[in-house]
């Protein structure tokens, strides 16, 4: 009869965390910053169809890095949860905090009970009526939930990007300034990123009921510098 090998719980958790971290570090990074009129989300993403940033509800956006199929499943869960809650109660009752908690539960549960942890890091952002009410919830692969202020960085090389970003970021920046600072932080000193390498969206207080809006490549190119290919047509909504 075969005896199962004993593995210390500490070792098991460490192995899982290492596995998830490796998966996430392979992907490209994403940053979110507060700016004067709302929250700006910028991801390094060469695909024009497989999105890392999306709309969840009127004032809430979702961003994910890591394995696409895993964070997209979480995104769909978020949209469904928010829409059902808004239908059963009121649109005012849908808020980021509850959703972030649900995500933390799912990720935590998967991390401890499933064979493989989810190789994702996600962000739930909610734009408030004033800047002081803006919220950024950063959720890690093991369900750790962090309430961040000002800036948030997800994905590979996050520490270096966060270092560059916090040294330049200011809450009073206009959209253009905030975007160039975010892109500079993502690129680092050795690289430059053009509009084609980026996926950019905002949650803007002045956008009416649905605050979420994607910025078109042409608009991004006019701020972060030229692009070699002609601007793509209007995207999303």
């Amino acid at each position: 009869m075969n005896m199962p090998f004993y593995v210390a719980p500490e070792q098991m958790m460490k192995d899982r965390a290492d596995y998830a971290r490796k998966g996430i570090a392979r992907g490209r990074a994403l940053v979110a910053v507060q700016y004067l009129d709302g929250i700006l989300l910028v991801a390094e993403n060469t695909s024009n169809t497989l999105r890392k940033i999306s709309e969840i509800y009127d004032r809430i956006a979702f961003a994910g890095v890591g394995k696409y199929n895993e964070f997209d499943q979480l995104r769909r869960f978020g949209v469904r949860n928010a829409d059902v809650k808004g239908y059963a109660y009121s649109r005012d009752d849908v808020e980021a905090r509850g959703l972030a908690n649900d995500y933390a539960q799912i990720l935590g549960q998967t991390f401890t009970h499933e064979l493989k942890p989810l190789e994702v890091e996600i962000l739930v952002a909610e734009v408030g009526v004033t800047q002081a009410d803006d919220q950024l919830f950063h959720i890690l692969y093991d369900g750790t939930l962090v309430d961040e202020r000002g800036t948030s960085v997800l994905g590979g090389d996050a520490d270096a990007i966060a270092g560059r970003l916090t040294s330049t970021w200011s809450a009073g920046d206009e959209l253009q300034t905030a975007l160039s600072k975010a892109v500079a932080a993502l690129a680092g000193p050795e690289r430059t990123l053009s509009a084609d390498d980026l996926e950019v969206a905002v949650l803007s207080r002045s956008n009416g009921r649905r605050c979420f809006q994607r910025l078109e490549d042409a608009m991004v190119a006019s701020i972060v510098g030229g692009t070699n290919v002609p601007p793509k047509s209007a995207q999303g909504q």
Partner: protein, 265 residues
């Protein structure tokens, strides 16, 4: 009410109604006995095609039997940026259907990353009317009009429905509800292809005026309280509600015409 994390085999996709059924919030449940005249009814709504898109209009009165139960109901609402829906029939059921329809369009757009085509939206509404057939047979009838701007074809399009969910695309105009008959006649007489926006708005107002003249369940413009019908245009630029000031001028001109004729009928 708890939304689970669906596995790929039993995922309800982009269908919001299916999702609601899965979490136990079925929106279409038929009552167990006749229910007509127990709930407020909404009346005349119409849509007219013009050069750049469509005009939708509806009066503001809701009735319960002989009683006026509401003077400022909005029966014409935007479904999304490029389409609108107007309802006649049982107000409560209709309002919930509109809410569900608006949510369905937004839900699909968020999950799939792009909006449903205009034809697809009409089809979705048709399925909702069909799902309400049980309640309709008990007297809780809802008959909507759906209209919008089709960006693929660069033109305005409009549809009317029957209680079984039958969906009929009309080329020029449509009017429904208890004052739909007189309104249709006015539209038929006044319609010509390629109307300008202001002309189409005027025609829609005139149709509502005449409907209110002969149908007690349709409300006319209420200058005393400053309540005017909902009139909106939908073009490539999206939904635009015509302001009450503009409508006040249009209806004043119609009233002046009536006075000048000295007609007593």
């Amino acid at each position: 009410m708890k939304v689970p994390l669906f596995t790929s085999g039993d995922d309800p996709g982009s269908d919001f109604s299916a999702l609601l059924r899965r979490v136990g919030l079925d929106p279409f449940q038929a009552p167990s006995g006749p229910a007509a005249n127990l709930a407020p009814h909404a009346t005349t709504v119409l849509a007219v095609r013009f050069a750049d898109g469509v005009v939708m209009a509806g009066d503001r009165r809701a009735t319960m039997g002989n009683r006026i139960s509401n003077r400022e109901m909005e029966k014409v609402v935007p479904a999304d940026r490029h389409s609108g829906v107007a309802i006649s029939g049982t107000a409560g059921v209709a309002m919930d259907m509109i809410k569900l329809f608006q949510l369905q369009l937004e839900h699909y757009e968020k999950l799939d990353g792009r909006p449903i085509s205009l034809e697809g939206k009409a089809n979705q509404l048709s399925q909702m009317v069909r799902a309400n057939l049980g309640a309709a047979m008990q007297g809780l009838v809802v008959v909507p009009i759906f209209a919008g701007y089709d960006p693929l074809r660069g033109t305005g399009r409009l549809w009317d429905f029957d209680i079984t969910g039958g969906r009929y695309e009309e080329r020029e105009f449509v009017a429904t509800g208890s004052g739909g008959g007189p309104a249709s006649t006015v539209l038929k007489v006044g319609y010509r292809p390629g109307l300008a926006s202001a002309e189409a708005v005027e025609l829609a107002c005139r149709a509502l005026w005449e409907a209110a003249e002969v149908d007690s369940a349709t409300g006319g413009p209420d200058a005393l309280r400053g309540i005017y019908p909902v009139v909106a245009t939908i073009t490539a630029d999206g939904w635009l509600r015509i302001s009450d000031d503009v409508l006040a001028t249009v209806f004043a001109a119609i009233a002046d015409g009536q006075r000048a004729r000295g007609s007593t009928s």
